[in-house]
């Protein structure tokens, strides 16, 4: 998943410094800082209304920031919009292709707007249709396209000009799982070619699949940022949900697991379950041993990928926890081995 940063020598393709955008009382974006190094993929993760779209729109010069600065490909969003626009591609949250035109006509038009010659635009359009598996639908109007085909055409349109920085605003929201995989595959191909991508999403799974680094935002503010692997070390790669058969055991169970070094363990009284972020398979077998040792009757036990809610809970919860649990920064191996020692 994580790619080497060979290209660009670690220069920043996107630099955001204290960006602010308010709509009346709504602080859509409220002092965001972030860097995207050239040739890497930044995932911006946040729930609905977090300010993702507003952030992307400002970076694409569609909206002026109230304050703060941002540069994309070295150009300032407020002062140098024209050269900036030449170097970006945007796939908005809502389809940004012309419904009444065919796939080919859409791409051809964009080629001409990007100053391709007539034959150049035609050639590039067919190239992109081929690449995004749309050759068969080239002359069909977009109205007849499926959701996944539209998204792919949107990606093709954004890639027409071979942009230095590609912005993808929630590329798979509202798609069914199979179509989502299709879009992921194509996005991953773009990513694999070493393009710089800023991607917004509501799904941890999507960020994990596509991004190198993550910026988690909520209410327009950055809550956490870092490499996916590091964040996962704090959040857990999987969540283990344990439902004791006897509800009164819940608090005791959480106490025991916390005692054995699983600081992220949270009791959900309403659901009657304990949720444990799992970093390694060894942890899982360790927990099973602990459960066996105390001989709790268990009604249900299951693992799943962390949801956005759980990521938020773990990230914001950990902030206070890590202060009593010693200095942070032990990393996933540290956390894993620490736990093994505890249960051994």
């Amino acid at each position: 998943m994580m790619r080497q940063d060979t290209s660009g020598h670690g220069r920043n393709a996107v630099e955001v410094r204290g960006l602010v955008k308010h709509f009346g009382d709504t602080k859509a974006v409220d002092g965001v800082h972030l860097n995207v190094r050239e040739g890497t993929v930044m995932g911006v993760l946040g729930p609905n209304g977090a300010g993702k779209t507003t952030l992307v729109r400002m970076l694409c010069t569609l909206q002026l920031p109230d304050s703060g600065t941002a540069t994309v490909a070295g150009y300032d969003v407020a002062r140098q919009p024209r050269p900036l626009r030449r170097r970006i591609g945007l796939t908005g949250q809502y389809a940004s292709v012309d419904e009444r035109l065919s796939g080919f006509e859409n791409l051809y038009m964009i080629g001409r707007l990007l100053d391709f010659s007539r034959s150049g635009a035609r050639q590039r359009a067919y190239e992109m249709l081929e690449r995004f598996s749309l050759t068969d639908a080239a002359s069909k109007p977009i109205m007849k396209y499926s959701g996944g085909m539209r998204r792919r055409l949107d990606l093709a349109a954004s890639m027409m000009g071979n942009p230095e920085v590609l912005f993808l605003d929630e590329p798979t929201t509202g798609l069914d799982p199979r179509t989502r995989q299709e879009v992921w595959d194509h996005t991953q191909q773009i990513v694999a070619e070493g393009n710089t991508v800023l991607l917004t999403t509501q799904y941890m799974e999507e960020a994990e699949y596509l991004a190198d680094e993550l910026t988690v935002i909520d209410h327009g503010k950055v809550i956490a940022e870092g490499r996916i692997a590091d964040l996962k070390a704090r959040v857990g790669q999987r969540m283990l949900v344990i439902r004791p058969a006897v509800p009164q055991h819940l608090q005791h169970l959480v106490g025991v697991l916390t005692h054995y070094g699983l600081a992220g363990t949270v009791a959900d009284e309403a659901q009657g379950v304990a949720t444990v972020p799992i970093v390694s398979d060894e942890q899982l077998s360790g927990i099973v041993r602990v459960l066996g040792y105390y001989n709790y009757p268990i009604a249900d036990i299951a693992t799943h990928l962390p949801s956005l809610d759980e990521v938020f809970l773990a990230l914001t919860g950990q902030k206070t926890d890590s202060q009593d649990a010693g200095p942070p920064g032990s990393g996933p191996q540290g956390a894993g081995s620490g736990y093994q020692e505890a249960v051994a």
Binding site: R82, P83, R85, A95, L101, M109, R112, E225
Partner: protein, 291 residues
């Protein structure tokens, strides 16, 4: 291995500034590029029409329906004539009416651009255009070009229908061409009025409602359908300030060869130039700033 850091964060010292020796590429957009962009965007509108011919219904049907209705419903009764002279009256009215409907078409066709641009500007495709290295005005100019073609087509249809129901211009073809050109020019100025409305108002329904309220009095409170001298004084005064009256009178003076030509033509041109000079920049600024 770096550790994830928690917000709020102090900005890391900015990475060494990339030296950008890129000259002024992507800065100003040259005339040729502007024309190419406008052409590509106009082509988009044209292809839309090709694939959805029903988009042309109004420019074809309105001139036919209005001409037939007015000629055959009112034509015979015009001039207070008796039933015996109905046919003559009808021919005379046809000569009077068709140049008037030309003026009306400029308003009717321009009206539809307001709702169109309002709907268009809320779709994702506009964001794509606005995030591209093109002059934003070219989106509006392309729309304007295509709408001018639609208006021209509807004027041609109107004149053909006019001839079919008995209009007689006594060989004044040059004058007919001049009248169409004048109408096209005035219609173009109106396009910008409705584009500004479409860009300013929130919903397409609001645009449609206001357009209807504004255009109906302008259409009927003018010399488009009947001469103004039988109207009460206040109404006649209104018609004198109504640019549609000037355009209709100018068209008539040209195609019928009666009445003064210079004065109504001058007023029609003054109105058109004035509207373009004031409204077009406003619409373009509005479009640029729209978020």
């Amino acid at each position: 291995m770096t550790t994830p850091t928690m917000a709020p964060q102090t900005p890391t010292t900015a990475a060494p500034q990339r030296s950008r020796a890129r000259g002024n590429d992507g800065g100003r957009i040259g005339l040729r590029a502007n024309l190419r962009h406008t052409g590509a965007l106009a082509r988009r509108n044209a292809v839309q029409i090709k694939q959805h011919p029903e988009l042309m219904m109004d420019s074809l049907m309105i001139p036919i329906v209005f001409t037939l209705l007015f000629v055959y419903v009112f034509g015979g009764a015009m001039g207070g004539g008796s039933p015996e002279s109905a046919s003559e009256n009808r021919d005379a009215y046809t000569n009077y009416l068709v140049p008037g409907i030309m003026a009306m078409m400029s308003l009717t066709m321009a009206m539809s651009v307001g709702t169109g641009i309002n709907e268009d500007s809320r779709k994702g495709i506009m964001d794509r255009f606005r995030a591209m290295p093109i002059a934003r005005a070219s989106v509006l100019v392309a729309k304007c070009l295509v709408e001018m073609c639609r208006l021209l087509l509807s004027l041609v249809v109107l004149v053909i229908v006019g001839f079919l129901v008995g209009m007689d211009i006594e060989g004044r073809w040059m004058e007919l061409g001049a009248a169409m050109g004048l109408t096209l020019f005035f219609g173009t100025s109106l396009l910008w009025v409705f584009m500004l409305m479409g860009l300013t108002m929130r919903t397409a329904q609001a645009v449609q409602g206001v357009s209807f309220l504004v255009t109906t009095p302008l259409q009927f409170g003018s010399s488009v359908f009947v001469p103004t001298d039988t109207m009460p004084a206040w109404m006649e005064t209104f018609t004198k300030f109504n640019p549609l009256t000037h355009v209709a009178d100018a068209n008539r003076a040209l195609t019928m060869g009666t009445g003064e030509v210079a004065n109504p033509v001058m007023w029609a041109v003054i109105w058109s130039v004035g509207i373009i000079a004031v409204i077009m920049p406003l619409a373009i600024v509005r479009f640029r700033k729209r978020t």
